[in-house]
């Protein structure tokens, strides 16, 4: 296994991590500030992908697709938050789980009715087609683009959180949720804003994933579980935690998948390694999370309280 392959696999891991970060950022804020478990966050990712795919197919412009995906899920997030979820902020977590589980079923059916049961595919935008040469190994240009977008969003979020009044309120809300209300801030509006921001990022993630993976009903749930792994590993309520958590999960998953079976083959018999390799590779992120939680229940980069 050469260094270049290792580097390329790391890049793959970063690309997955960046996608997970976009999805996790909103989830962790909603969780940290409103103490709300939103299982339907994955549905916003799915619908963002659908909105973007529809716009891209109709207009052929990827930029318009980005607008449609982020704008569409932002609006949808706002509506869902105001109509249903805002009523559940003060309720038990279990009621929130129940309601958002119901929402998942609804959104999946809406997608099925609107876009049909089979997958929708969109092409990589023209200028991003093809691969670039990275020291002898070719790497898809589009995946590099995803990394770029993700890092740009991370920087923008950092500036938003650390340099603006809104960011100050978000930080205050994440560390001392009760205090923000006392500051005379319109809590309902702050909640809606944070929720919508998270929804827009989820929609963007969905669109970015669309040319790589198919857009299909139910695509949000498996990745939601991984996003939950990310936010508890990183520390709930913390954007920084979500970022590092996402990178860790992305890299562990990719590198594990790539090298674990080979590693096992050095230690076990080939047939045993072939059976154990994929199983163990799939378990890896959960092993990491369980380890982190058992030793640091608050996650790796928790929000500082007080």
């Amino acid at each position: 296994m050469s260094v270049i392959v290792l580097l390329t696999q790391l890049l793959n891991g970063v690309q997955l991590g960046v996608l997970l970060f976009l999805l996790s950022a909103g989830l962790t804020l909603v969780f940290g500030i409103m103490n709300f478990i939103n299982l339907s966050h994955g549905s916003l990712y799915m619908l963002g992908a659908y909105f973007g795919a529809a716009a891209y197919t109709a207009t052929g412009s990827f930029l318009l697709a980005v607008v449609a995906a982020t704008g569409g899920s932002l609006l949808l997030g706002l509506i869902v938050e105001r109509v249903a979820l805002a009523r559940l902020y003060a309720r038990e977590h279990l009621d929130q789980v129940l309601a958002t589980f119901g929402l998942i079923l609804i959104f999946n059916e809406v997608a099925r009715v609107t876009w049909g049961p089979s997958s929708v595919y969109i092409d990589v935008p023209g200028t991003l087609v093809g691969a670039v040469d990275l020291l002898g190994l070719s790497y898809p240009r589009y995946r590099l683009f995803i990394i770029g977008v993700g890092v740009a969003v991370a920087v923008a979020l950092y500036l938003l959180i650390h340099r603006t009044r809104l960011g100050m309120l978000i930080r205050a809300g994440a560390s001392v949720p009760t205090m923000v209300g006392a500051l005379g801030v319109n809590l309902a509006r702050l909640n809606a804003l944070v929720f919508a921001l998270g929804a827009a990022l989820a929609g963007l993630a969905g669109l970015l994933a669309a040319p790589l993976m198919s857009v299909q009903p139910g695509m949000g749930e498996p990745i939601l579980i991984v996003a939950l792994v990310v936010i508890v590993t990183g520390g709930i309520g913390s954007i920084r935690g979500a970022f590092y958590g996402a990178l860790i999960v992305g890299i562990v998953d990719t590198v594990g998948r790539a090298f674990l079976p080979e590693l096992l083959r050095l230690m076990l018999s080939p047939s045993l390694a072939r059976a154990a390799g994929p199983a163990l590779a799939s378990m890896l992120i959960y092993l990491v999370m369980a380890g982190v939680l058992a030793l640091r229940p608050q996650g790796l980069f928790p929000v500082k309280h007080g």
Binding site: M1, S2, I4, V5, T8, Q9, N12, Q15, L16, R112, P117, S118, S119, Y121, V124, V129, G130, A131, L137, S138, Y139, P140, Y142, R143, L212, M213, S214, Q216, P217, G218, P222, T254, V255, R257, A258, P261, R274, G277, P278, A279, S282
Partner: protein, 388 residues
């Protein structure tokens, strides 16, 4: 009034088969209809219904009622719908089944109740061997044979080093094993990915680094579309020969588009077959559904043809199980693949072909027959089956 009743009773007593014909024969159709793999089941259903509708709602001259059930790719759900069909609807025949794991979950519950199982897709190895049942009739293929033909082709092409990829479940392992059986070169690596994994970046990087002579893949449904598109995005298309089964099929090609051109696929049938049954089938199917039929539609169409011939032979009296079983076993019909006959394990003995993805006469991306490496091929498990 009384006289009419007497006459009616007499008719009923003397002509049971005829009276039975008045109430439609119920047939259960179980497949995947939801989720990303739903297109597979839908194609199976469309292929089957094509014949039923062409015959005016009849099979073997008897009106039939098709009860469509979705197994949702969940073994326990499949189990439940099968129970519902058998116990509530009392169907004597169940057709379809898409995935091997679902087939394994319902095979025993169906055949043990002496209900006829007409499999039109999945052919896992256990039921071809030791667990075979006289009530099963698999009109498609045994899983391994689909890959064996590709292995034979790779052998004939003289490839030395091949990397194989498949989802990490039994069918995936069966297909890779099937490929290895007739391929004498070296399979340098077998990569199994989780069944729900849609992003293959890590695996493609490994492929690019290994530089094998060819790649063998088994990725059914949406998995295959994603793999092939990402294969192209990674710049590997054209550099590495891509051999496959159940991946570049009629369902996936419209989404894979140019990314699949030049891919090799092995199976028992292709839309360019020249025999009259196949030509008629392709023509009718395209007219009705505005798309090229996939092999799944063709298999199910054959399933309908098989039932048509057997039901006609017993004149609708499917309750006479030994007679109906014999009629099915005889398989007296003209198949889309030409002639058709069952092996002792009730799987077909058939020619296996290799196809290349290419543009057809109308400029659409389709499958073109390039070779027939295996003639009158039998699956390797039939000797384990105790049926004669």
């Amino acid at each position: 009034m009384i006289r009419r009743l007497c006459v009616l009773t007499a008719v009923m007593l003397s002509l049971p088969a005829l009276v039975r014909a008045e109430t439609p024969l119920k047939i259960g159709f179980v497949a995947e209809f939801s989720g990303p793999q739903g297109a597979l089941g839908q194609d199976q259903f469309d292929g089957f219904m094509l014949l039923v509708e062409r015959n005016g709602g009849k099979l073997g001259g008897i009106p039939v009622q098709i009860l469509k059930e979705d197994s949702q790719l969940k073994p326990d759900v499949a189990n439940q719908v099968v129970q519902k069909l058998i116990e509530r609807e009392r169907v004597p025949i169940i057709v379809g089944l898409t995935f091997s794991n679902i087939m394994m979950a319902v095979h025993k519950p169906i055949t043990e109740k002496e209900v006829f199982l007409i499999g039109t897709n999945a052919g896992p190895s256990p039921i071809a061997g030791a667990q075979c049942s006289p009530y099963q009739f698999i009109v498609s293929w045994q899983n391994d044979t689909q890959a064996e033909v590709v292995g034979q082709y790779a052998q004939e092409k003289g490839y030395k080093k091949v990397v194989a990829l498949a989802p990490n479940y039994q069918a995936g392992k069966d297909f890779v094993a099937g490929f290895r059986r007739l391929f004498k070169g070296e399979v340098t690596d077998e990569i199994y990915t989780p069944l729900n994994q849609l992003d293959f970046s890590a695996e493609l990087t490994q492929l690019a680094a290994r530089k094998p002579d060819a790649v063998f893949i088994f990725y059914p449904g949406a998995l295959g579309i994603n793999f092939v598109r990402q294969f192209q995005q990674a710049g590997l298309l054209g550099k590495l020969p891509l051999l496959s089964t159940s991946t570049a099929d009629g369902l996936n090609l419209p989404a894979q588009k140019e990314a699949a051109l030049g891919m090799i696929s092995g199976t028992f049938w292709g839309p360019d077959f020249a025999n009259p049954v196949s030509r008629q089938f392709v023509e009718d199917f395209e007219k009705k559904f505005k798309r090229i039929p996939s092999q799944y539609a063709a298999q199910s169409f054959d399933g309908a043809l098989l039932l048509d011939s057997a039901i006609a032979k017993v004149r609708g009296n499917v309750a006479d199980k030994p007679a109906f079983m014999a009629a099915l076993k005889a398989a007296n019909f003209k198949s889309v693949r030409g002639s058709f006959r069952f092996n002792n394990n009730h799987f077909p003995i058939q020619d296996m072909h290799v196809f290349e993805v290419a543009k057809d006469a109308k400029g659409r991306i389709s499958l073109k027959t390039v070779a027939t490496p295996l003639k009158d091929h039998q699956d390797p498990y039939h000797t384990l089956c105790s049926l004669k």
